[in-house]
């Protein structure tokens, strides 16, 4: 089975929609077990490990992050945050058999109580076709003002 460029692009849109609608169980199921969600702290950062990143999370951390959002004593989520992605059409940078790489520019809005913040993002996905389904092998999200002082970013840009 093969995957078309169109299907790869749809996958990126679908993922963003899952995050905006809070369908985290479905979202976690997109990930391959060894994947990492990386959000660099520095502009054009190359090393995720030996300098600080905003996030560099394995599946255990991502599950923990998602599970915590619904906890009875998750004080920073009372009330809950909401988020909203606006995507430019994803660029499919690579299609090599079962692996794919995309770059997507997006605006991300996160809001809670009376505060709302807007972040401009570049999301880079490494996708893999496993048992007929597209999955996320790795995801890197660069915030254009990554070196700015942020308030809480509580959901998943």
């Amino acid at each position: 089975m093969s995957v078309t460029r169109e299907q790869v692009i749809d996958f990126i849109y679908d993922e963003a929609r899952m995050l905006d609608e809070g369908r985290y169980t479905e979202w976690l199921a997109l990930w391959l077990p060894d994947g990492h969600y990386w959000m660099p702290l520095d502009y054009q950062q190359t090393d995720p490990l030996n300098v600080t990143s905003l996030m560099y999370e394995d599946l255990f951390m991502l599950k923990l992050r998602v599970e915590r959002l619904n906890g009875a004593r998750t004080f920073s989520q009372k009330p809950k945050s909401r988020c909203h992605h606006v995507l430019q059409r994803p660029f499919v940078d690579e299609m090599n058999g079962d692996s794919f790489a995309t770059t997507t520019f997006m605006h991300y809005v996160e809001t809670r109580l009376d505060e709302q913040q807007l972040l401009a993002l570049t999301a880079k996905h490494d996708l893999a076709l496993v048992d007929g389904s597209l999955r996320i092998a790795n995801k890197r999200v660069d915030i254009v003002n990554c070196d700015a002082a942020f308030r809480n970013i509580q959901l998943l840009p």
């Binding site: 959000m39 702290l41 520095d42 950062q45 490990l49 030996n50 300098v51 600080t52 990143s53 905003l54 996030m55 560099y56 394995d58 255990f60 951390m61 599950k63 923990l64 992050r65 599970e67 915590r68 906890g71 004593r73 998750t74 004080f75 920073s76 989520q77 070196d147 700015a148 002082a149 942020f150 308030r151 809480n152 970013i153 509580q154």
Partner: protein
């Protein structure tokens, strides 16, 4: 004019030993006094020498509300100058760091200065002939802060020209900094990447107090640390399977009260103190292969063990930094307004130690102290709820009397039960003294 302007003694009186008045957190006039007196008369952390390794390298930051530049002078030593042109006031450097070469040049009218601040040249200088410019403070160049000390790579400064010496201010509390640096087999640290920058809408002192608040982790962080433990148990991994990194870093926050009671708190004079006298959440980190051997090479086995067996948790250096010796982290709580604080969290590499140690420190920094951290989120929530709650007129005092059974002498070093709030009181004792530090001089001048 309100209750406190021009009256630091009135502000200092807001600390009553067992309680502190809410105005220390919410009143803009008290904040102005803190900047003018506490941050001017105390020794305040500026930056690390490795942020300015080459001659001409500079790093722009602030001491309290004062814009300053840390710069490596042509002689190799580090100077701290006010970031202000003596001509019209323009900030000399705008970016956070860079290299200025042999001199600073103001971007507005091109006055130039040596990297120790001395005036070098003024374009069309004949325009100042016979004006008496040389009699003004403008002609002296960029102003330097009162005193600077490079302690094993950590740059501290006192803004005031005269005042307490570095040694008297820190005393034996430097043992925590020593331990952090000694953990490098080369006895040297280097900054590892840029800091996390996290904006809080609360008073800076709430963040400082929280560093030795050992009764909050299992409560405020139940949603992250408690959930981590629960998820791990659900995995049902065999005992000897490697634990997810989050378990090593986050789960210890869920330790019971007894753990924190027994860890102990030590306080030193002038507002310094630390948690983790006997053990800490960093005690049970896994061994990194090859590290101990390198330490033994440098120090010999006995001293290497002594260095590594020290597991101090958070050491607060009054007024506004915290270090974690065992993982080489430094957090600075930069006061911006009574209700606004910028937190910057730095990490350092142990020179000549395995990279895995730096990687674990970087992991700690992002998991616990990032704006994206599930632990940090709940801390910020608590601070900001407090900042808002303090506006309530029904109660005007904040209670800090846990394990305080009588008058306390903060001029002596003591070790107490790890859940005491003595270190918070110790900070306020120092705060009140530095608030009124220059009162005799001011009264003499008036």
């Amino acid at each position: 004019m309100g209750k406190y302007s021009g009256n630091p003694a009135a502000a200092a009186a807001l600390f009553e030993g067992h309680q502190v008045h809410r105005d220390v957190y919410i009143d803009p006039e008290v904040f102005r006094l803190e900047m003018k007196h506490v941050f001017a008369n105390a020794w305040v952390f500026v930056g690390h020498a490795s942020q300015t390794p080459q001659k001409g390298d500079y790093f722009a930051t602030s001491i309290g509300d004062q814009p300053v530049i840390q710069v490596r002078h042509s002689t190799g030593d580090i100077h701290v100058l006010y970031n202000r042109c003596p001509h019209k006031g323009t900030k000399i450097v705008i970016d956070r760091q860079g290299n200025t070469g042999k001199f600073f040049r103001c971007p507005y009218h091109a006055w130039s200065f040596k990297t120790d601040g001395c005036l070098l040249a003024i374009p069309l200088k004949k325009g100042y002939a016979d004006t008496g410019l040389d009699q003004t403070e403008s002609a002296r160049g960029m102003k330097a802060v009162g005193e600077v000390r490079n302690y094993r790579g950590f740059i501290f400064a006192r803004l005031a020209e005269e005042g307490i010496s570095f040694e008297d201010f820190f005393g034996d509390s430097l043992s925590s900094l020593d331990n952090m640096v000694d953990r490098s087999p080369a006895g040297r640290l280097e900054v590892a990447g840029p800091p996390l920058r996290y904006m809080h809408h609360c008073n800076w002192k709430m963040l400082v107090e929280n560093q030795t608040d050992t009764c909050h982790p299992m409560v405020a962080h139940e949603s992250s640390a408690g959930t981590a433990v629960k998820l791990y148990e659900e995995l049902n991994l065999p005992e000897d399977a490697p634990k997810p990194p989050a378990m090593e870093i986050i789960a210890p926050f869920m330790s019971p009260y007894e753990f924190f009671e027994n860890m102990g708190i030590r306080t030193w004079p002038n507002g310094h103190g630390h948690t983790g006298v006997n053990h800490s959440i960093h005690s049970n980190y896994s061994q990194i292969p090859g590290y101990f051997e390198k330490m033994v090479e440098t120090y010999g086995e006995e001293k290497a063990k002594a260095i590594l067996n020290e597991n101090r948790h958070n050491t607060v250096y009054f007024p506004n930094i915290m270090i974690k010796g065992p993982i080489q982290q430094l957090r600075i709580f930069i006061p911006l307004a009574a209700n606004k604080t910028l937190v910057e969290s730095y990490i350092y590499r142990l020179v000549d130690a395995p990279d895995e140690l730096t990687a674990r420190t970087a992991m700690y920094n992002r998991m616990i102290n990032a704006p994206t951290s599930i632990v940090g989120h709940d801390d910020l929530e608590m601070y900001e709820r407090a900042q808002e709650g303090l506006e309530a007129d029904g109660l005007e005092w904040v209670n800090i009397q846990r394990l305080r059974t009588g008058e306390e002498d903060f001029s002596e070093e003591v070790v107490e039960n790890g859940t005491t709030e003595r270190q918070m009181r110790n900070q306020f004792d120092a705060w009140a003294r530095f608030m009124t530090w220059d009162a005799p001089a001011r009264e003499a001048a008036e």
